[in-house]
Amino acid sequence: MSHDLLVRLILLLPLAGAVLLGVLPLFMPALRRREGLIGTIGTSVVVIPFAIATYLFVSYGGDPVTVSYFTWMEAAELSVDFAYRIDELSLIMTLIVTGVGGVIHLYSAGYMHGDPGFWRFFAYLNLFIFAMLNLVLANNLVVLFLGWEGVGLCSYLLIGFWYTDLKNSAAANKAFIVNRIGDFAFLMAMFLIFSELGSLSFDVLLTDAASVLSAETIDYIVLLLFIGATGKSAQIPLFVWLPDAMAGPTPVSALIHAATMVTSGLYLLARMSPIVLETEVVMMIIAVVGALTAIMAATIAITQNDIKKVLAYSTVSQLGYMFMAAGVGAFFVAIFHVLTHAFFKACLFLGSGSVIHSMEHVEHDLEHEGEDVSDFDPQDMRTMGNLQEYMPSTGWTYFIATLAISGIPLLAGFFSKDEILFKAFEYGYDGNTYAMFVWVVGVITAALTAFYMTRSYYLTFMGEERWPLADKIHPHESSWKMTVPLWILAGGSLVTGFLGLPAVIKDGKWNWIHHYLGANYGGPVAEASVSAHVPGSLEWGLIGLSSAIAVGVFFFARSMYLSQGIAFDVSLKERLGGLYELWEHKYRWDDFYDNVVVEALINQISRDGLAPFDSKIVDGAVNGLAGATQESSSLLRRIQTGVVQNYALALVFGVVLVIGLMIFGG
């Protein structure tokens, strides 16, 4: 079959699903309760594209295929086609989006069971998949931006899905507004590219740009693109929206805020990698920002008690890792980590969703027993414990994913994270000092990651039951619709790491992802060339080091939280003092934004500067104009005497003038 049709199907099926599920139930309320039907449609319009993408993946010949459907806009030199590009990078991303997306759709059918907005949820999810596919398949920046904004919109809609709670709406607004800042930078980058290059198509952009554009222009373009990416991918300083975004339903957190949308910034950088590599300064900024984000978010995650917040900060931290990889020129590793992260983080989020789901049942039972549940938070790990006994599937999959993210050898996270650290080390070894700093931060963060993830697992699934009336009320394992996706994702967390075996094994020949994506092997993703290669023994040493750290920290945290439970948090707090407090308050970023940006900059300027300007000068101009018109017309209206002869007089006067002009005017 032709690519034309297949790509069309991939894109249009989710859109059709979104329209179908979003519009029909709007007018036919009876349909809203047909959860089975809605779930089936919603899931299949994602699974079918996954199947098509798999076919495309298998039959991919090695040369990028572009399909153009129609010209979207044409103005002078600007010509934007609805064009899509199938190459190694977009295929991998499409597979992640539709694969993980499909699994999460299935999960949602179980998770959202009984919610009055079931149909709405699936409509939004399908719309999100459509937008995300636009983003990853686009062959020019404008269509990519369309998807970019589309996923932002869906993210907004889904964070605020339970919009009756003001807190959720506020979180949605926050995500939307913070993203706007990044989007603005992205737009500026697009303008700059167009004005300098005259085209926004990747065909031109990826081949000519590096040679045509001046070094300074590239600096600015990449910097602006990176700022755009910090918005969507939650990096310093624009990461603050992501933890709040956990207000949305958990499948949303898994799909949008862990597996797919937040990685679109990385995708953008990987897509533009031939240009990004041209600018060392911005690469350094990217790497350092990524490293700082990683360690900052990891330290915050240690102090969080909300199970989803831990995962949210963990996501920010892992995204930081990906940016580290991008910053040291190892874009394919970043995409590799996107891939593995999609599996284990989606698995963790869905697991947490399963936990929350059953804790909500506990809350319900407690209420039934006549307990006061106003303080009960089904997401708080302090009220959980020993869930492994009641929810074995959830527990085991969560455990596997925890091991994977912690970097325990032979699991997915181990390979991808280790590859990032190794690339950073290698880049530093090659003489780029900042990469060494990044490496050090990365190693520390790896230890922190292992710590907080182990903590979250043992607080949730092990130890004693801490909810009230624990001997009478027991949580239950979720339905198959939720556990099957968990096992699929846990399986992915187990094996996907083997797609990118490190260079020490068979000289990197088994690093499939590198061979598939890397520009050196005909792929679309460029990478930094290093002259000084790290000797094999040293590399083995590094692998050993990170393995030892991961395993050591895992067992340390395991023993601490297994023996002491939450009490260890308290002693940790006492030992670390102010530092812990700083972490607990999230480095006061939100306070900073509230006090400096919102209060001082926006409120002060608008209240004291812009508001008077608006009321005095802008309104004054308008009112003044109106007043002047009124005044002058009250004078002018005296001309209108209403007497016919005065009008006739004026008319004859005009005749005299015209005749005079004709006689004497030549």
């Binding site: 209206r637 209108q640 005497t641 209403g642 007497v643 016919v644 002869q645 006739a648 004859v652």
Partner: protein, 101 residues
């Protein structure tokens, strides 16, 4: 001495100007309408004179239509005068100022 075209045209100009003065000076609405008729008449005279001078009947056909339109105008104009008179009990044009601001 032969009758020349400009004699007719001159006479037409004089009649037209008298009609104009009537429109501008008379206060009686009906006389005003009469003055308009006089102006139309003056124009008709010009048309006929030029038509005969050039031996082309079109000018006189135009006069035919002018007379038809003048009849219509007089009918409507007088009806308006009647309607106004019913309301204001006067035909003094200076006192009829419905369009005053």
């Amino acid at each position: 001495m032969e009758v020349a075209l400009n004699w007719y045209l001159g006479l037409s100009a004089i009649l037209f100007s008298i009609g104009t003065l009537g429109v501008l000076l008379k206060r009686n609405a009906i006389v005003l309408l009469m003055s308009v008729e006089l102006m139309l008449n003056a124009v008709n005279l010009t048309l006929v004179a030029l038509s005969q001078s050039m031996g082309d009947a079109d000018g006189q056909l135009l006069v035919f239509f002018t007379i038809a339109v003048a009849a219509a105008e007089a009918a409507v104009g007088l009806a308006i005068v009647i309607a106004i008179f019913r309301r204001k009990l006067t035909v003094d044009i200076t006192e009829i100022n419905l369009f005053k601001f």
